[in-house]
Subunit: 404 residues, 2 copies
């Protein structure tokens, strides 16, 4: 069955909001045996009409996000009702839910919120325990149309709890193909393809893709279980030293449970990554079991005070240097109960570079309780946030290598 | 002129990669007097053909991203060459650039990279100093088609340095409308509309939109300079206490230059936000002038060791409590040279909640050198990353209020 996604919202096209729905929906649809064939973003208002008409001509399942809010620019509900000749009616249960929700959070209700209790004709209400806008589902011939609210924290549970079960009934066969994806670290995209591209493409019926993110490359294969087993043999043999794991989006998602299983703890001492490394780790549920403490020591005086890096060492080598990275990691290990401590010091830019240490230079160190400290220099001449991501991933990769 | 964007990449539709291009392009096109009328994402391969054909029927300017890489799933170049009957030729200068680039970074070149030196017919090469894939531009009748590489760190400078100047020639009039946007904190989206919606909609010719992000709401107005001046009067008068500023995406972008201008420094002491608060601040260029040090104290023992929070205080009130938040902030202030210290302690979930302090509870404190410590309790019963974002923004908003 062909699936299309329509995201409504002027803010998406004006560049004020990142569209995170496509990632979520793509990942959630896959295990149901569904893939998104096309996605479109259209502004608030009338444009949803054309986009929906076109999608109706191509797709059996249409997922629409946004435009269900209380404000006057949210008109998806009204336009769909008009398109399909379904008069709007106030749903008493929805209105009661909205009132109850406002009362519980101690917020004042206003008449605008009442619009969210309007339901077109025979559409089925999709309950939204995380917000006031209910979702709506209706079928026309063999077309299935789902309207879902725009805020991710409302859409996501609604999709998982309500929409996915309906889709399972519509697609009774379930997945007819499977997918596997491997996370590769410390290699560029073309290097990864040079290593595995030819043997993977030689596997009959295998669909192959690569996706480069800051500091990691994903190898993605789709095919029959037999083809995927052959792909696995190629990937694990050829990329072994750089292979971080399977099925995860990020190194931290692989490393947090790994450290937890080993009963080991991690500390971080960051300069140039500015908290990004700690945030990557603490973004993984359960991180508190493995993460004791992090230091973000931007100022030199703080590297000395908080981590015990000798001021003379900073004066001799500069704050961005291998000896300082090592001393930061060792200082963090000494001051915490951790078994591993990762440190970063570098030049995120846009200013602060020199000929010898240009913007993008970073030193990373890993101190290991009862082991030798490791260190490496990398060069990521990118924008500030990409630099922070790449340096954080390089640090996590150093930990991965140490865990063996 | 009508602008459409086509993003190619199976990874976008499978949910493996976030599409950040639309935000970037939307923001960059606006000052050129251009707005994106529609965006579509299609998988790698043949689908680009249909999407491009359809867009040609509606738009004058078509921006295509992705599919120019070295791997076999990157076929935008080849398909466009075939569609428009432009034979591919190897461009000697591009090939030389690719070879030089690999040599400089000390990477091994392979034959796959040579495909990136292929240029269709009369297309103009758009130089890519940040990668191997050149962009391509060609005009057909009054249609202007730009092919740009997928990686954001390659696309962004190419757009700014090469594509934008070409667009300025195509759209000689420049912007015929203007836009202003205000960032509002500490209010929900419907509360913001209840406050300003009616008077703003009463301004003739003003286009109005709202966009809620974790912890902040943006009010966006488009119109003539006169209409926008009236809108400003409404917004600044009605929302004054909650108005963080104008034209910025985030509180941190407003606060970092503000602190710098005041010559003040900030420290952070985070538990539940896990580094997100420090990362927000250090993500702003120039943050090193105002940010001394951050602590991520997940373990109770670390709150005591690194920040001097009395163990007895934690035992009496619990780590998630107002007294501990205050002690964390005051400890961070005492231990650093900062003028302000923000602290967060809460329950990010998914586990760890109690009846009295459910998942989503967070205490935030602000210690002020020579002033009284402030504290507040908030409740953000959302997913882990949204919770971290909302709590970090609530902390930044407390600092904003203190700065007056």
């Amino acid at each position: 069955m062909v699936v299309e996604v329509i995201n409504t919202g002027t803010e998406l096209l004006l560049g004020n909001t990142l569209n995170t729905h496509l990632v979520f929906l793509g990942q959630e649809l896959f295990p149901l045996g569904l893939r998104i064939a096309r996605q479109a973003a259209v502004p608030d208002g009338e444009a949803i009409r054309d986009a929906l008409t076109e999608a109706m001509g191509r797709a059996e399942i249409i997922l629409v996000t946004g435009g269900l809010g209380p404000t006057t620019d949210d008109v998806t509900r009204e336009i769909v009702a008009e398109m399909f000749g379904m008069p709007l009616r106030e749903d008493a249960a929805v209105w009661e839910h909205i009132r109850e929700r406002f009362a519980r959070r101690g917020l004042a209700l206003n008449e605008r919120n009442r619009r969210q209790a309007q339901v077109p004709g025979d559409a089925r209400v999709l309950w939204n325990p995380h917000g006031t806008a209910p979702g709506l589902y209706f079928a026309r011939g063999n077309r299935h149309i789902f309207l879902m609210p725009g805020p991710p924290r409302e859409l996501r549970p609604m999709f998982r709890d309500v929409v996915a079960p309906i889709l399972k009934e519509i697609v009774p066969g379930g997945a007819t193909f499977a997918s596997r994806r491997w996370l590769v670290c410390g290699m560029g995209e073309s290097g990864v393809e040079a290593a595995v591209g030819e043997p993977l493409l030689a596997i009959p019926g295998l669909e192959l893709g690569y996706c480069a993110r800051p500091g990691v490359v994903e190898v993605r294969c789709i095919g029959t279980p037999e083809a995927l087993a052959k792909a696995e043999a190629v990937v694990t043999k050829t990329l072994s030293a750089n292979l971080a794991g399977e099925g995860s989006d990020s190194l931290e998602e692989l490393l947090v449970p790994r450290l937890a299983a080993l009963g080991r703890k991690l500390a971080t001492a960051e300069s140039c990554t500015g908290g990004r490394l700690a945030h990557k780790i603490t973004g993984v549920p359960g991180a508190s079991v493995v993460f004791d403490a992090g230091f973000v020591t931007y100022a030199n005086a703080e590297k000395t005070r908080a981590l015990g890096v000798p001021a003379a060492l900073i004066a001799e080598h500069g704050a961005v240097s291998e000896p300082v990275a090592r001393a930061m990691a060792e200082g963090a290990l000494e001051r915490t109960g951790a078994d591993f401590a990762l440190a970063t010091t570098g030049i995120a830019g846009p200013d602060g570079g020199t000929a010898e240490k240009p913007v993008g230079t970073v030193y990373i160190a890993l101190a290991i309780r009862g082991g030798e400290t490791r260190a490496a220099r990398h060069f990521y001449p990118m924008d500030r946030l990409t630099f922070q991501d790449m340096a954080s991933n390089a640090a996590l990769n150093m930990l991965r290598e140490a865990l063996g």
